[in-house]
């Protein structure tokens, strides 16, 4: 990797959320990957954002109430 390909922490922070969302071009992704391998501060930031998302995803884990299950069964029985 040449110096030209290196990016600084400021640029990583600017693109980090897009990077974690998979909304970034391949070249930038590689640059950030490499930066994160070398920069503990940015790596910690990325891990923090990942962990926060993981906790958010857990919120979607609900157990459907029995009333809904009965309602869906009645609907499906009519299909």
């Amino acid at each position: 990797m040449t110096e030209r390909d290196r990016i600084d922490c400021e640029e990583v922070v600017a693109h980090l959320l897009d990077y974690l969302d998979g909304e970034i071009d391949a070249e930038k992704r590689v640059q950030i990957d490499r930066h994160l391998e070398e920069c503990r501060g940015c790596y910690s930031r990325a891990e923090f954002e990942r962990e926060l998302r993981r906790r958010l995803r857990e919120l979607g884990k609900e157990s459907a109430p029995e009333t809904l299950r009965r309602r869906l069964k009645a609907l499906l029985d009519e299909f």
Partner: protein, 228 residues
Amino acid sequence: MWRAVALERSRASAPGLDSAGRTAGFPVNPADDRAFFCGEIGRLTNRLYGTALRLTRNTAQAEDLVSETVVKAWASLGQLTDRACFEKWILRILANTFISGWRRAREEPVGTLTEEEDEEDGFSLFDRLHQPFLLWWGNPEQELINKLLREDLDRALNALPDCYRTVVVLVDMEGYSYAEVASVLEVPVGTVRSRLNRARASLQRALWNQARAAGLVDTGQEQEGERR
């Protein structure tokens, strides 16, 4: 209404009728369709309800939303080209149903962030908590995440206005791409990105405030964070 939809669906899947969009060579059999559909709904009921609850913030409305989604999905099952994609397909129907018909019918406001929240576009919980000199000795940001309760996250997410909460649910919880969310919401991708950034900043600000109120942030961290 759902009886009419069911009738329409059974006609559409009858032998000899158009099965456009279905896997080529796949036999058209209403009984197979039904068995497949019922199996998938049974498997995904919790998932559908969880997403619906995050979107509506109301258990009764979440049940209505899931039921309406199931009826719509059955009516358009013939349009599903790859059955392996059923989960994503029906979640998209659920999101569409919430965003278009559901919310408009009830004339609920889309909502906006407060002026203060809007100005805090770049708020970062990590910046408030991270202490570089502790790199090898501690990790206060990770410690805070570990201390946050499900209710803390739930409260912060539910406090977001609809249009901001929706993008967080679809991207952070459901794994949608920006383009997919833009398509569902009928807004440009740039709008999705800016709403997401503001929503995340507002969410993290709410978590920060909750952490302070609950005494999860020590005074030193708080003062250091305020200086940033």
